[in-house]
């Protein structure tokens, strides 16, 4: 973060150097339709004009027939250049602005001027001093100028100074013809209102676009509030994608008390998986050596302890795990837990019993399993006397992908457990990708038994690997 701030500071300094050496843009072209050209300065050639173009002093803008442009000065004044018109931005300083209209019809909406500042519009035959008004100047092919004021007051006079100065007010017009003295201002009506109507329509459109931008900005802020709720759900792991590309909702609960059939020295962890078309759950009841205190974490922090240098205040004397799809179930667990002197560590926890049940039928109940393992290139064989067929075979059905499958049989009926490591998109990585960062992956466990009668004859669970590891399954 600090390095990036330094980079930004350097960039800003470079920009500041531009500020001191560069000119500040004073005019922006807000609209350009048809063939509109500009000269950046008196000596440059005509180039195509387009919206967003920035202009400065001595720039000239010209419109062809059926063309139109609108420019906005930095003080907020708006100038609409109608077809076949030409306007020179002669002087654009804070104290003085002078525009020269060579031909055509141009609508001026000038922002109110501060005291001491002047704004003049000149044509071949007239000069108008403005105080913050809305008016048009129309210069025809004979250089005759017609001034119409829609709002405010314009002080107008002939360019050669003859005939005196006139004050032309709202809804008044006045003409200036070369070699003839000007007549007094008169009222106007008729097709002039059409100009006014079109102009107001354009203004209304700009105002509506500004309202749209405001609305969309406000909507974006409110949508962010909804996004935050969704973010929390994903961050807390309450929804993931399984290996089949389907959404899995996960909720986890920790419960205690006789209300749910637990003893004072027991706590239960429940994980439920809900998909569009199925519901599976996993639970673990941990039985401790003593009553679990009101501050449960004093005991639960030892829930996964198996060995160490410190003698724990609490340890599990039994664990009862189960998984179900609401129709079928598997249950397994250990009992007879006690602390003994360890081999590699001063203390270790050992159990005297392990059991395994399918659909409430006991498949094994005896000493904890101590498999004898043989590793082959394409499989692993664990000999476990008394457990099912006596052999658990682990294979890798998807080659190098992180998917393993354990098979055995109970009285000739096949039982298997598939374990998938998944990324956020429900995809199974290959081993090389997985080994780069194993902790990035979630786990999906699928238990299948030929005698299951529930949906798809399987129990399908997306869980954090830690959950299965600490329970001793894998």
């Amino acid at each position: 973060m600090k390095n990036k701030l330094m980079v930004i500071a350097v960039c800003l300094s470079m920009c500041a150097s531009y500020v001191f050496s560069a000119k500040i843009a004073k005019v922006v072209v807000s609209e350009s339709r048809g063939k509109v050209t500009v000269k950046i300065n008196k000596s440059s050639g005509w180039i195509k004009c387009y919206p967003g173009m920035l202009l400065d002093e001595n720039a000239t803008i010209k419109t062809d027939s059926r063309s139109k442009a609108t420019i906005i000065l930095y003080d907020g004044s708006r100038i609409s250049v109608n077809p076949k018109s030409e306007l020179l931005l002669k002087t654009l300083t804070d104290g003085q602005k002078v525009l020269e209209q060579k031909s055509g019809k141009i609508r001026f909406k000038i922002a109110k001027l501060l005291q001491g500042r002047t704004f003049e519009c000149k044509t071949p035959t007239a000069v108008c001093s403005i105080r913050g008004t809305d008016f048009t100047l129309d210069v025809n092919d004979n250089n005759e100028t017609e001034l119409k004021v829609f709002e405010g007051l314009v002080a107008a006079a002939k360019l050669d100074g003859t005939g005196g100065e006139f004050h032309v007010g709202a809804s008044q017009k006045m003409s200036f013809v070369k070699d003839l003295p000007p007549n007094a201002p008169t009222s106007f009506s008729g097709d002039d209102n059409k100009d006014e109507s079109n102009s107001r329509k354009e203004e209304m459109k700009l105002a509506v676009k500004a309202e749209i931008n405001m609305d969309l900005s406000q909507e974006a802020v409110q949508q962010m509030a909804a996004q935050e709720m969704k973010l929390a759900q994903y961050q807390e792991g309450k929804t993931v994608i399984d290996v089949f590309g389907k959404r899995v909702r996960i909720e986890e609960y920790l419960v205690r008390g006789d209300e749910v059939g637990l003893q004072p020295n027991q706590v239960k962890l429940v994980v439920v998986n809900s998909r569009k078309d199925r519901f599976d759950w996993y639970q673990r009841v941990a039985t401790f050596n003593d009553v679990v205190p009101a501050d449960m974490k004093l005991a639960t922090k030892w829930m996964d302890w198996t060995k160490g240098a410190t003698l724990p205040s609490y340890y599990t004397v039994a664990n009862d795990m189960g998984a179900s799809n609401t129709v079928d179930n598997i249950k397994y667990g250990n009992a007879g837990g006690s602390i003994v002197a360890g081999v590699d560590d001063p203390w270790q926890l050992q159990y005297t019993n392990f059991y395994f049940k399918i659909k409430d039928s006991t498949m094994y109940n005896g000493a904890p399993l101590a498999p004898v393992r043989t590793v082959y290139p394409d499989k692993i064989e664990d000999v476990v006397p008394g457990f099912g067929s006596g052999m658990i075979t682990t294979t890798f059905p998807d080659g190098d992908k992180m998917h393993s499958k354990q098979d055995t049989t109970f009285s000739g009926i096949s039982y298997s457990e598939d374990y998938y490591s998944l990324d956020d998109y429900g995809k199974v990585p290959d081993s090389e990708t997985y080994l780069k960062d194993p902790m990035k992956y979630n786990m999906e466990a699928v238990f299948k038994y030929d005698n299951f009668t529930g949906k798809d004859k399987k129990i399908d669970l997306c869980v954090a690997p830690k959950l299965f590891t600490s329970a001793g399954i894998k």
């Binding site: 560069a22 500040i24 609305d215 994608i241 909702r249 501050d295």
Partner: protein, 406 residues
Amino acid sequence: MLKRIVFFVVAVICFVLPLSASDITTVFNVKALLGQYAFEKESGSYNGNLNIDFVPAIKFSDKFSLLPAFYLGYNGVKDVTELVGGGTLVQQSADYNIALKPIINLSKNVKLRAKVGYMNQLFQETTDETWGKGLFDYNKVTAGADISHKNITAGYSCYTIVFPNYNTLAETETKEKYGSELSSSSVGKKILDFSASEISAYGKIYPLDSFVIDWSFGYNLKSFADQKVITEIVNVYKPENRADNSIAVSVFPSIALIPAGPVTLLGGLNVSMINYNSTQNHYNVKATSQDNPYTPKYYDYSETQIAPVVSCSFNTIPLKVDLSYQMGSRKYTERLAQDSAGTNLADKTKTDTNYLSLGLTYPLFEKMSLKMLVSQFNSVSNMKYEQVYRYNYTTSNYFVGVTYEY
């Protein structure tokens, strides 16, 4: 029912009231883009985004106008800044928004606006999710008013967001299918739904020629009707429901420059800060075997964003280039970072983000422009437990398309 009432009212306004209007001005904007999104080395398929804004503004007099507005959007390509950690590469979203906005010109410089609106956003995030059944689809009803004087606007709005397809499993499926083994008390059913009140103010300051400072301030209060507050004791909740509040401020000075040569620059620096507070706590069941699975004020954070923006126009060709870079840093005040195994660390969770965007606009015909946009987003965090959500990643997308403005 509310949706039908709003539709009916807006339809009446659009078809009946114009008969008495003095003027109707229509704004119609369309943006159609084709693009692709990528997350790390995974790319989604090509898809498109479409946005339509339609506002037939009705002017009754110089003092009163009515703006019925219709906004439609479809995003087939995910935005780089959108929620990514949940792993939804294929997300599509669609939304429609209808609003009604009367505007009263109290004087030349003072405007009063009111607004009512209804919005529906739909998501299709997984292969088994269909339109209208997205888990995180939501509806929003908004009402508000603001008043502006010259360059300053102040307003109040309130809105309600409802997620119709989301219920906690504890209150629905789990009880039906798991049975009574769970405790009877739970954190609530419609826990994502909330109502909010917002006070806002924004404006522009013109300290120098061509130098503009945009600023904004917002204060937001949220209340959750069905989300109880978790305590340190399992299955025991506080009597009051969750309530959040946030303050957001931003400042955006910008200036237009013509340096030597044919290039004109519009530069600015957007600085914004958000402070978010919530009464909700968190008990991490996955961390049951750790010393501290309980975190108070779990959702509290402060966030700072700094975004330099440069826009270039070339005075010899009608090409506009927009370059923006945004740095953000969000720090949670109580939420502890975790190592890759999920063990709590001493530091609080902090996520730094970088967003870089380059856009080109070239006018094709009158009112129609060609647009190209390339964006990249990067997130780095001290939270290394990423089994359920990714905090460290890079995303990118690109678009080519056209815009039409009437």
